[in-house]
Amino acid sequence: MSAITGVVAINTFREAVRDRVLYNLVFFALLLIGAAILVGQISIGIDRLVIVNLGLSAISVFGLVMAVFIGVGLVCKEIEKRTLYSLLSKPIRRWEFVIGKYAGLLLTLLLNTVFMSFGLAVALFYVGRPFVRSDVSILVAIYLILLEFALVTALALFFSCFSSPMLSILFTLSIYITGTFAADIREFGDFSRNPALKAITRALYYVIPNFHNFNAIASAGHGQSIPFSLVWQDTLYAVLYVVLVLFASSITFSVRDLK
């Protein structure tokens, strides 16, 4: 990452902070405090399961909403508001701008997730459950959620490079939902006797990012260990996919007329 990219990334992060994006942490904290108090009163023995499931799901949902709704505005908002005109007259390449915006939002999501994870730890502590070795799976699940954010942000940014915010939201959410059920779609095709449908579902399975593989919330909730092979395969998959999408975003944006 060049110094220029870093400058853009820091400013993107600053924008998120100044636009009070991190206020979502307050809602997250309230949700977990409420859940912890409630769970402490009504559940016996499954307090950890409930808190972990609720906490990780909230981390995932809050982060995804941020990745999609801020991600789609990363580029097109700058074009609409014409803030890009003076910026691109400076010695900055368009790809540096794209990567900088991406890195800035990812930094925001990372920080947001770190705070939320800390909140989850406090909630677990509150329900009186000592930390055990198997809790590592919670950290691994959070790591996989972060990989998911990286992918979703890259997709939102890609659409933002050539489409309007509304369409970008539609495209990104469509891909996310399709990607979450990618395995089911493939199975559906395999069951079908129609070779064309089979080919289409297989193509979809391989082209659309398989988000289901990044969901380890259930395993973490039950204290089951998450296989290391899944972790490194997911990491490699996410990194390759993000690099490809960012490359496509940079190319798309580099040839676009900013009318």
Binding site: A3, R14, Y85, S86, S89, P91, L258
Partner: protein
């Protein structure tokens, strides 16, 4: 021989239009223009003439359909060229969550200045555009005129030899316009080349070494304001009044404009003496005779009219 500051060679821009985007609308048609070092060039034209398109092409915000341009001998496609230029976009808008100081500091980072140098530069240019007291106010609280000043500060922050200003006076009150004019004159004095677009012709006449007039995407003329307007036919303006107790003949009054007890009549240069003779014969008191020099505005309007009449095709259909 040194390179010109700005060299535009056959720059052309077509935009797709229509529902299927198969038609092409020509915004700029083979613009060729050269601006020398230290020159202030006014880029004139009515709305939609192609001024902003030209600026955007030079900044690399849009890409030419044909032609190219060089700044101090370097292609506009070369990113290092951007170190040589400053740009104020039309109706500038900046990150409104930043203060003026933060914004300039952010932009200064792209030029590799260290923290100390950045701080000094930012303070200097904020003072130059008269924003020292509002430096730490978020830009969302700035008026249009203040944003324009921030825009000028960010354009000259790195001391670029070539400065592009797109409608720098638009939306400013008379005081703001005067301040921007002073800044442009200061830039000229400091040896900068200034290329600025405007449709406020008096500003162009006052500031520019040369003006280029663009109408319908085509360059209609380039030259010093005095050269450009001298091609027009001169006429003469006579102010007169009736002597006390004497009324002027109806035929004379009907030809003139009544202005607070005085009359004004404009005649062709060749008709001056017969007109004076007529006024003298009816005992009118001649108050003044002065040549009417056509203004840049007259020339400009003449070109716009001519373009309308010629009705040049600006749309090229792509089959």
């Amino acid at each position: 021989m040194s390179n010109p500051a700005i060299e535009i060679l056959g720059l052309t821009k077509d935009y797709p239009s229509g529902f299927w985007r198969r038609k092409m609308r020509r915004s700029l048609d083979s613009l060729t223009l050269q601006v020398e070092e230290g020159e202030v060039l006014g880029f004139l034209g009515p709305n939609g003439a192609g001024k902003t398109t030209t600026m955007k092409l030079l900044m690399g915000l849009i890409f030419p359909t044909a032609g190219n341009a060089r700044i101090r001998g370097r292609s506009i496609e070369d990113i290092s060229t951007h170190k040589l230029i400053g740009y104020l976009p039309e109706q500038p808008y900046f990150y409104d969550y930043l203060t003026a100081r933060e914004l300039l500091n952010y932009y200064a980072r792209f030029f590799g200045y260290d923290a100390d140098a950045r701080e000094k530069r930012v303070s200097h240019f904020l003072e130059m555009v008269g924003l020292s007291t509002s430096a730490d106010v978020q830009l969302r609280k700035f008026s249009k005129g203040m944003l324009q000043r921030v825009g000028i500060a960010q354009a000259i922050l790195h001391d670029p030899p070539v400065v592009f200003l797109d409608e720098p006076m638009s939306g400013l009150d008379p005081v703001g316009r005067r301040e921007v004019r002073d800044i442009i004159l200061q830039l000229k004095q400091d040896g900068h080349t200034v290329f600025f677009s405007t449709h406020i012709l008096s500003d162009a006449e006052m500031l520019c070494d040369r003006v280029a007039v663009l109408v319908g995407g085509k360059l209609q003329g380039v030259g010093a304001p005095s050269e450009i307007v001298s091609v027009q036919i001169h006429s003469m303006e006579i102010f007169f009044e009736g002597r006390e107790g004497h009324s002027l003949p109806r035929a004379v009054i009907e030809q003139a404009t009544h202005l607070g007890g005085r009359y004004r009549v404009e005649v062709a240069e060749s008709e001056l003496y017969p007109a004076l003779e007529q006024l003298r014969s009816c005992d009118a008191r001649i108050l003044s005779i002065s040549p009417v020099r056509p203004t840049l505005e007259d020339y400009f309007l003449h070109l716009v009219e001519r373009q309308k009449v010629q009705n040049h095709a600006v749309e090229v259909e792509v089959r």
